[in-house]
Subunit: 239 residues, 2 copies
DNA sequence: CATAGAAGATTGTTAGACAAACGGTCAATC
DNA sequence: GATTGACCGTTTGTCTAACAATCTTCTATG
């Protein structure tokens, strides 16, 4: 340690000290962002070439993603990006409802300054994104909003579970690029949640989150069912 | 859809096809059952010798257990059995409350026959275990009771998350073998939950589960705080 | 007594190997 | 013509061996 190190942020070395965690992050991002589509088969050798890592490291990362519910490891057949049925989505939304509601309740009860700022900022960003019809910005600020509530709950276990559910639901988002008129209503819902939390009304915040979640679930399930119908029809025609 | 498929369940081949999943189960059981104590360092070489598997397989299994929150993998220091602070336990119980409540609600709404039977059976077993003061039986039937509610919810995501939280809380149980007079009150609570579910009263089942969870949390936190106090005192004396 | 430094042990990661299992092709059979 | 069965390439599951980076421990030194 020399003179220079005094000026810099000491607790550097985030988590990128190990290749395995970096690999996990890279693959997770690739899946959540839609770089790998749901249902797609992932070949270990390809992942190795793609990332430059060895098979052992790739397999360790895949094992973690499996535990997170983002990939399924079918024995002797290899890893596949998790593909959701309508029933899966229904269950995920159900769990997200109670978790998100609980998080909002805690958040509204504790009202940590950082979380309030993050929530307000995300709401603001969503508004701008909606005005500019910037799809990427809308998605990103939506994620930020939910992440802020999770972090603001002060419950790390809850936060992690919410993130896991959220990541899996993101798979669904990649299936259909549709979020058409939902933005307008969504914006109002986000603002209402933000206000309820900022004002310290836990019960109201929870109820609003439940409504918001149900609305999202209804839309997603509708889209998913239609997509599944499409698939079924196509298969019926082909087979 | 032939004649045979109606009577027999064809899909044999459980899940023990891969060594990695078997390893994961073995290590998980070893941790949850207290064979490895919380905070204990796990040396890869020892695990290899203990299980007869190679380092690669052991590391894959450890990676999964890490994602489940049962071990922490500290970079360049190795895997440790997760040890819980009072705050960790508080957060886990908080999450378990909402998840268990939700599961009971769903269970009471759907009332699948298999779940009702399993719940009744577990309650019965708990009563017998309590009468015989059979510690192992009490623990086992308690686990079975919670597992039955999770399974009865019909929500696989919820079931898995409940199991994860439950496993982590089992670590706490290994810290102190104490569940002294809690059995008597516990028995009544279990019976009440069973009845509420069997009678199809979702709101009541949820409320009872929340109470039950709070009672467990209070006791566990009390014990944990005492244990932590012990540790602090001992460290103060030693250091 | 504190500290620097060397020695040993453990982890992180790679490479290569091999058996078992899977998916598909293609001929033989009913 | 459709089904059965054998063959073959590919991929996975698992192991062994190895090496650099890092942690821990012990020792020697000021």
């Amino acid at each position: 340690m020399d003179v220079v190190s005094n000026n810099l942020d000491l607790r550097a070395a985030p988590q990128i000290v190990t290749l395995r965690s970096a690999l996990g992050d890279i693959l997770r991002r690739a899946i959540v962002s839609g770089r790998f589509m749901p249902g797609q088969k992932l070949v270990e050798r390809e992942l190795c070439e793609l990332t430059g890592a060895s098979r052992a490291s790739v397999r360790e990362a895949l094992r973690q993603l499996e535990a997170e519910g983002l990939v399924t490891l079918r024995p002797h057949r290899g890893p596949f990006v998790m593909s959701m049925t309508v029933e899966d989505a229904r269950q995920l939304y159900g769990v997200r409802g109670v978790l998100l509601g609980y998080a909002a309740r805690l958040c509204a009860a504790a009202r940590p300054a950082a979380a309030l700022a993050a929530i307000a900022s995300a709401t603001e960003a969503l508004g701008q994104g909606a005005a500019a019809a910037d799809h990427r910005a809308i998605v990103q600020s939506g994620d930020a909003f939910h992440a802020a509530i999770g972090a603001g709950s002060g419950n790390a276990v809850l936060q992690q579970m919410l993130a896991s559910v959220h990541n899996r639901l993101a798979l669904l988002r990649n299936l259909s690029m549709a979020l058409p008129h939902r933005v307008r209503e969504g914006l109002a819902a986000y603002a209402a949640i933000r206000d309820a939390i900022a004002a310290g009304r836990p019960a109201e915040a929870e109820a609003l989150c439940l409504d918001h979640n149900d609305a999202g679930a209804a839309l997603a399930l509708c889209i998913l069912e239609e997509a599944e119908g499409h698939r079924a029809r196509r298969e019926a025609r082909t087979g």
